[in-house]
C-alpha cells in the first residue's frame, strides 16, 4: 500500500504531521529526520524502500536529499547513489526550475563525481565577497619579492571592472632570478634532488591539506579575481584540484624505469629522471586548477618550477605560494611569477636554462570541440549536458562543446529545449548562490565575443536567444544560442570562448564524423546515444584527445587530457603526464656473461 508523493511540499507535510499514512504509522526514519541525532545513512532509502511511499521522479528525490542534507548539515554521496537505484525512473522529466538551486544535482548529472561529493558535503560557507588579498609580490626562492624594476600591474574584478589589486610585474630580470633559484634547487646533491621520492609525495599531500584548509578563502579569491560563480569555485575547482594534487602525490615512488631484454653481455636499464627546470605558463580561465595541473606532475617527477600565472588572475597562485612555503618545500623548487605574455612569458620560453616549457592558452591549446547528439539519445539529458558542455565557466573552456551537431529527427525539439534552458540560465553576481554564470574575464574578451555574435547574425544562422551584453558594469554576456549554423561560418570555426552555443544539423554517422573532424583542433568531443556500437564506433572515429559518451567534461585525475592536431602537444593529468615531466636515461653496463 504505497502513498504516492508527487511533490516536495506534500512530502514535508507528511513529515510535519509525523502522522499516519493510510492508517499505517510512518516509518521511524521520517520521524528521525527532524532530529539532529540520526543514523545518517540510508534513512531516505529506507523511506523509499519502506512501501509507505513512492516517489514519482528524481527531482523530488534530489530535493528530499537536499533538504535532508540541510537538516543534517552533512551529506553522504552514498545516499544519492542509493536513491538513484531505489528510484529507477530517475531523470525522465526533470523540472529544471525546481532544481536550479541544487548544485550537487547538477554536479551529478555532469558526471563530476568528486564535485558531487563536494557539493553535497555541506551548504556553501559564508565568505567575504571582497576577500583580503595577502600576496601581491613575486615568489622566488621561497621569498616574496618586488619586481626588479619595481613595476606593478592592475588586477581587475571582472564583475565590476574595478581594480582590486596591484601585483608585481615580472620581466626578464625577475625571470632570470627565478630560473637561477630553480636551477640551484635542482643542482646535484641539493636537498630536493637527494629527497626520498616518498618524501616528495608527503610534501605534496601536505600542500593538499593546506589547500583544503583554505578552500573557502581560495574559492572566494578565485571568484573575486576570475568572476566564476563562487559556488563553482568552491564545489568544482577546489575539490578537483586538491584531488589532482593528491593523485600526483601518490606517484613519486612509483615512477619506474625498466630493465631491458637486450642482446649481448650487457645489463641495460632505464631511469626516469626529472627534466630539470620547468617553465610553465597558465591561462586565466581555471587559474588555480591549471596551476595544480602543471605543478603537481612536475613536482611528482622531481623537477623544479618557474610558473607564470596569468596577468588577469594572479591572486590564487600567489596565495598558494605561501602554502608551498608553509608545506616545507625547499627554496627554489617552486617559483611563481606574475606578468604579461610577451615580456615575462617570452623570457621564460627563451631562457637557455629552462629545460622544458609547458603552456596552456590560446592558439596552442584550444578547441572547437564537436558534441554529437544522435536521435536515439535521451533528449532531456542530452540537452542538459550540451548546455553544460558549452556554458560551463561562462563558455571559457578550451574543451567547450562549441559545435553541437544534432541529428535531423530530433533537431527541432533539441533546439527548442536548448533555447529554453539557455533562457533560464541565471547570469549575475558570482557570489550569489543562484548564479550559474558570471562575467567574462575582461573587456577584450567581451568585445571579441560580441563581434563573433555579430558575425553569426550576419552569416545567416538563426539567433534564437541572447546576443547582448548584460548591464553596463562588468563584462556580462547573455547566454546565446545560434541554430542552423553551417560548418563554413566563422562562429563554427573560430573558438569564441564565450556563452555562445552553435547548433548544427546532421543526417548520417559518416557525415557527422567527417564534419566533426574537419577542424584544425582536436581537444575533445562527445557523443550522445543509447546505442553501444554507435558510441564506440564514433568515439574511435573522432580525432580528439578526450571523447565523452553521454557525459561531458569528465576531468578525473586518472584520465589524460590534451589535444590532437593544433590543440596541443602532450597530455596533462594521469600517468601520461609523468611522461611529459621525465627524461629517460638508458644505462648499459658491460657484464661478463648474460643469461635469460
Amino acid at each position: 500500500m504505497k502513498k504516492i508523493i508527487a511533490s516536495i511540499s506534500e512530502f514535508w507535510k507528511l513529515v510535519d504531521q509525523n502522522n499516519a499514512v493510510d492508517g499505517n504509522d510512518l516509518p521511524t526514519p521520517i520521524a528521525d529526520m527532524h532530529g539532529t541525532v540520526v543514523e545518517q545513512k540510508d534513512d531516505i532509502v529506507d523511506l523509499v524502500d519502506s512501501d509507505v511511499i513512492s516517489i514519482t521522479n528524481d527531482d523530488v528525490v534530489f530535493k528530499l536529499v537536499r533538504q535532508y542534507s540541510k537538516l543534517q548539515n552533512a551529506f553522504s554521496i552514498e545516499n544519492l547513489v542509493n536513491l538513484k537505484s531505489a528510484c529507477p525512473q530517475a531523470l525522465k522529466q526533470p523540472d529544471i526550475d525546481e532544481l536550479k538551486d541544487i548544485s550537487f544535482m547538477e554536479a551529478c548529472k555532469l558526471g563530476f563525481r568528486t564535485v558531487a561529493r563536494a557539493a553535497s558535503a555541506a551548504a556553501l560557507p559564508k565568505v567575504d565577497r571582497t576577500p583580503k588579498i595577502h600576496h601581491q609580490k613575486l615568489f622566488i626562492n621561497n621569498e616574496f619579492v618586488d619586481a626588479a624594476d619595481g613595476s606593478c600591474f592592475n588586477v581587475i574584478n571582472p564583475s565590476t571592472g574595478d581594480v582590486i589589486a596591484e601585483v608585481a610585474n615580472a620581466s626578464v630580470k625577475d625571470v632570470n632570478k627565478a630560473v637561477k633559484a630553480a636551477k640551484d634547487a635542482f643542482r646535484l646533491g641539493s636537498e630536493w634532488r637527494r629527497m626520498d621520492p616518498c618524501k616528495r609525495g608527503e610534501l605534496m599531500n601536505k600542500l593538499a591539506d593546506l589547500l583544503e584548509r583554505d578552500r573557502a578563502y581560495l574559492a572566494a579569491l578565485e571568484s573575486y579575481d576570475n568572476g566564476k560563480p563562487f559556488k563553482d569555485a568552491y564545489n568544482i575547482d577546489l575539490p578537483h584540484l586538491i584531488g589532482v594534487l593528491r593523485y600526483f602525490a601518490g606517484w613519486p615512488d612509483k615512477i619506474n624505469g625498466k630493465v631491458l631484454a637486450n642482446a649481448g653481455d650487457f645489463f641495460a636499464y632505464t631511469r626516469r629522471e626529472p627534466v630539470g627546470v620547468v617553465g610553465q605558463i597558465i591561462p586565466w580561465n581555471f587559474p588555480l586548477v591549471l596551476f595544480i595541473w602543471k605543478v603537481a606532475p612536475a613536482l611528482a617527477c622531481g623537477n623544479t618550477v618557474v610558473i607564470k600565472v596569468d596577468e588577469h588572475t594572479p591572486l590564487t597562485g600567489l596565495y598558494t605560494a605561501k602554502l608551498i612555503q608553509e608545506a616545507g618545500f625547499p627554496p627554489g623548487v617552486v617559483n611563481i611569477l606574475a606578468g604579461d605574455g610577451p615580456n615575462c612569458g617570452g623570457s621564460i620560453v627563451k631562457h637557455p636554462d629552462v629545460d622544458k616549457v609547458s603552456f596552456t592558452g590560446s592558439t596552442q591549446v584550444s578547441g572547437k570541440s564537436p558534441n554529437i547528439v544522435f536521435d536515439d539519445a535521451d533528449l532531456e539529458s542530452a540537452v542538459e549536458w550540451s548546455h553544460f558542455a558549452l556554458f560551463f565557466n561562462q563558455g571559457q573552456c578550451c574543451c567547450a562543446g562549441s559545435r553541437t551537431y544534432v541529428q535531423e529527427k530530433i533537431y527541432d525539439d533539441f533546439v527548442q529545449k536548448s533555447v529554453e534552458r539557455a533562457k533560464r540560465r541565471a547570469v549575475g553576481d558570482p557570489f550569489d548562490d543562484n548564479t550559474e554564470q558570471g562575467p567574462q574575464i575582461g573587456q577584450e574578451q567581451m568585445d571579441k565575443i560580441l563581434r563573433l555574435i555579430d558575425s553569426g547574425k550576419k552569416s545567416g544562422s538563426k539567433l534564437l536567444t541572447g546576443g547582448k551584453r548584460v548591464g553596463d558594469r562588468g563584462f556580462y554576456i547573455e547566454p546565446t544560442v545560434f541554430a542552423d549554423v553551417h560548418d563554413h561560418m566563422e562562429i563554427a570555426r573560430e573558438e569564441i570562448f564565450g556563452p555562445v552555443m552553435q547548433i548544427l544539423k546532421f543526417k548520417t554517422i559518416d557525415e557527422v564524423i567527417e564534419r566533426a573532424n574537419d577542424s584544425d583542433y582536436g581537444l575533445a568531443a562527445s557523443i550522445f546515444t543509447r546505442d553501444l556500437d554507435k558510441g564506440i564506433v564514433v568515439s574511435n572515429g573522432l580525432r580528439a584527445g578526450s571523447v565523452w559518451v553521454n557525459c561531458y567534461d569528465n576531468f578525473d585525475p586518472t584520465t589524460p587530457f590534451g589535444g590532437f592536431k593544433q590543440s596541443g602537444i602532450g597530455r596533462e593529468r594521469s600517468e601520461y603526464a609523468i611522461d611529459s615531466y621525465t627524461e629517460v636515461k638508458n644505462v648499459t653496463i658491460k657484464i661478463s656473461q648474460r643469461n635469460s
Partner: protein
Amino acid sequence: MKSRVWEMLSWFLGYSELRRLKIFINNEWHKATKGKTFAVINPSTGEEICQVEEGTKADVDKAVEAARNAFKTNSEWRKMEPAARGVLMRQFATLLRRDVDYLAKLETLNNGKPLEDSKGDIAISADCIDYYAGWVDKIAGETLPSAPDTFLYTRHEPIGVCGQIIPWNYPILMMAWKFGPALACGNTIVLKPAEETPLTALYCGSLIKEAGFPPGVVNIVPGDGPECGHSIVVHEGIDKVAFTGSVEVGRKVQEVAGNSNLKRVSLELGGKSPLIVCEDADIDYAAELAHRAIFANAAQSCCAGSRTFVHEKIYDKFISKSVELATKRVVGDPFDTKTQQGPQINNSQFKKIMNYIESGKKQGAKLECGGERVGKNGFFIQPTVFSNVKDDMEIATDEIFGPVMSIFKFHDYDEVLKRANETTFGLAAGVITKDVTRAFKFVNELLAGSVWVNDYDAITNQSPFGGYKQSGHGRELGSYGLREYYEVKTVAIKLV
C-alpha cells in the same frame, strides 16, 4: 627487568580496555563462539600477559560472512571511489603514527624486540600503507589492439575476500604488507595474527574502525594455526589466501587451498640466504653488514643472511671481526635503550635453536663464541658464531631462525655461486664486492627473489619481496605486490 615489564603490563591492560582482546568482526568486538581464550606470553619473562578470545571455525565463518557482505556489489566499499579508499588508508597510516609510542611498547611487550626496533617497524608500516594508498587510483586496466570491429579491454578487479595469515616475527609490519595491497585493490580481509603476537593487530582493529573503514572490510580473528588458520585456508567463502611463515605450513596451505575452492595462494616462506663476501671487500664494512644480516630482530627474519660465505684470503680476519661484534652485542631487556637483541619468541623456538647449536658443535663446526642461554627467565640466547661450517651440516641447510651465524670459506667464484644456490630456498642473497663485473655476475646467477649488493635487508615499499623455489609464491610490496590482489577481466565487445 620484571618490575618494568609489570609496569608495562598493568599500563597495557589499563589502556587497551579488554574489548581489544576480543575478535574484531564487522568493526565490532566479539567473544569467541566456543567461549575459549588463550594465553599471550611475554617472551622476556615467559609469563602470561593476558588472555585473548580464541577464534575457531565458527568465528572464521562469522568473519568471512562480514567480509563477503562488505564485498557485495553496490556495498559501500565496492562503490567507494578509488581515491576515497586512499583517503581511508592514509588516515589509518596517520593513526599508526599517532599511536606509535603505545603500539611500540605493546609490540615489544608481546614480541620481545627492542623498543626502538618496534618504533621503526611501525614507522615503516605506516609508510607502507601510505605507499599503497597512492596506488588506489593507478591500478589501471588496458585497452588492447584489436581487429577494427572489436573493442577489447581489461579491468583489474579485486579478488574478493582475502584470508591473510601472518607470523610473529614482525607482527605489525607483516600486517601492513598484507593490508596495503589488499585494500588498495579493493578487497576485504580476514586476518589471523600469529597466536604468539595478536596484541598489536587487535589494537589496529580499533584504528581501522577509527579511520572510517566500512564494517566488514577488515576483520581480525586471533587463534592458532591448526584450527583458526586451517578454517581460513579451507573456507569456501574466501577467494584468496596469503600466508607468511614456515615452508612446512606453507606447503599445507597450498594443499588445502587446492583441495577446497582452489583459492589463489601467495606464500612467503623461509630462507637460508647466502651472503657472499668477496676478497676485495672492506672487511670492517663486510663484517658489520654480515652481523646485521643475521642478528637483526634476534635473527627471526625469513631473509636472514644465515650462510656467510667468505673468500679464503680474508677469512681469518673476517672471523675475528665477526666474533668481536657478536661478543659486543647487547642482549637483554628490550625496553632498555642499550639492548640490541631481545629474547626469542617462545620456549619451543628457544629449544629448537639450542638443539641446532648442539648439532653444529657435534658435526664439527667451530664454535667461536656464544652458544649459551642468557639469564634464567625468558628465552634469551647469546649471539653465536660458528666458523668452518660445511655445506652438508644441519646448521648449513636448515633454517635456524635464531642468533646463530654460520661462516663458510670459499676460494673460487663459480664454486661459491654453485654452493650458494644449492638449497631448496631462494628468498634473498647478498654479495659484497667493489668489482662491477663480478657484482653483476652474482646478481644474475644467484637464485633468489632479492639480491642485495654491498647491502643487506635493503627492503623498501617499492621493492618486490618474495621467494624463488620453496621460499614462496608471488611477491609482496611494490607494484608487483598488487598483482596478488586483483583478477584480470578481459572484456571484448563486438561491434555489429
